[in-house]
């Protein structure tokens, strides 16, 4: 859980996306509770860590290959669905959703097989 300035999350990838992340579906990770408003710019104002930050963070820390299959213009590729604690992120403010300790964030791609 939160230890003052970091937030511990569970992040999952499924539907094929796990292939970009060492073929590992489930990840536990800690992110700072406050992050720069402008990603990577330590001199900018801060904001509570949100999903937009998490997406960038995953790209820089967990993603193993092919960034263009995960991100597109500062958010996830439109073929990817993001879930916050079993709810579609569109119902939770999308990228602006502020992360809370213990949150479970899932990134899925649609399956096509039958």
């Amino acid at each position: 859980m939160s230890t003052g300035d970091t937030i511990t999350l569970k992040v999952e990838f499924s539907g094929g996306l796990e292939l970009l992340f060492s073929n590992q579906r489930s990840h536990k990770l800690s992110v700072p509770a406050l992050v720069p408003k402008k990603y990577g710019d330590a001199s900018s104002e801060t904001k509570p860590a949100d999903i937009t930050f998490l997406i960038h963070y995953l790209r820089d820390n967990l993603l193993k290959e092919r960034v263009e299959l995960f991100m597109e213009s500062d958010t996830v590729r439109p073929g990817i669905l993001v879930l916050v604690n079993d709810t579609d992120w569109e119902l939770e403010g999308e990228g602006d959703y502020s992360l809370k300790a213990g949150d479970e964030i899932v990134f899925i791609s649609t399956l096509h097989g039958g």
Binding site: G15, R77, L81, D88, L91, I108, H112, G113, G114
Partner: protein, 280 residues
Amino acid sequence: MQLSLEDYPRYGRQMILDGFGLTGQLKLQSSSVAVVGAGGLGCPALQYLAAAGIGRIGIIDHDVVEVSNLQRQILHDESKVGMAKAESAARALRRINSKLTIDAICDALTPENAVELLSPYDTILDCTDNAPTRYLLSDTAVFLGKPLVSGAAQKFEGQLCTYNLGTVGPCYRCLFPTPPARELVGTCEETGVLGAVTGVIGNMQALEAIKIILGLHDQRPSLLLFSALGSPPFRSIKLRSRKTTCPACGDSKQKVGDIKEIDYVQFCGGPAPDWEGRGL
């Protein structure tokens, strides 16, 4: 419309359920369902639709039965290898329930024929195995104003979602405006699939259709995720409603254009790579 006398004992076990009754059985009898794909998902879905007494069932599939299908496509059997899947499945269903009308349609679903082939049916099941057909089915279901019960399965994983249901249900494009990257998508041929996984999802598709027909579906947009090795194995996701900006089902109706003119294969990144041809 009436239920014939010999059907009372046949369907008695479901007619005595709360919210079912004679009315429910007559609803099933007068309903029609199109199942697109008579493979790993279509077979179990078809079985339970036929057993429950859906009056008319359309089976759309242009493939023939291969021995590699038998590991999961449980309506086909060794004697059917080489036969059209739609025909093989139709024969199996007629053995289960001879009173139903079964349409075996051995054509590929295309932008040219989709509206015509699907318009005779009230409910559509997406039991296909590729992205272009999934977008085509979604657009067609939106155009026809019919619910689309969509299943998918790969490896140890499955997904189930009903699109375009009621007034607020999203379509496939509301959720996935862009197809996933080809590199991350495999067919069952490329990545494999466990038969029991297609079974669970196909079975759930039949159940969804039956609930919709009986009026027992709560119509809340949701996505069921299944992972055969996961713990828990099932997760239910609460989904967004229909998006007013969706190019298919949004307020500017059918901004995607005329279905017949959409190149779905190109939209999904071109033809599937021929891994075998490349020596893989």
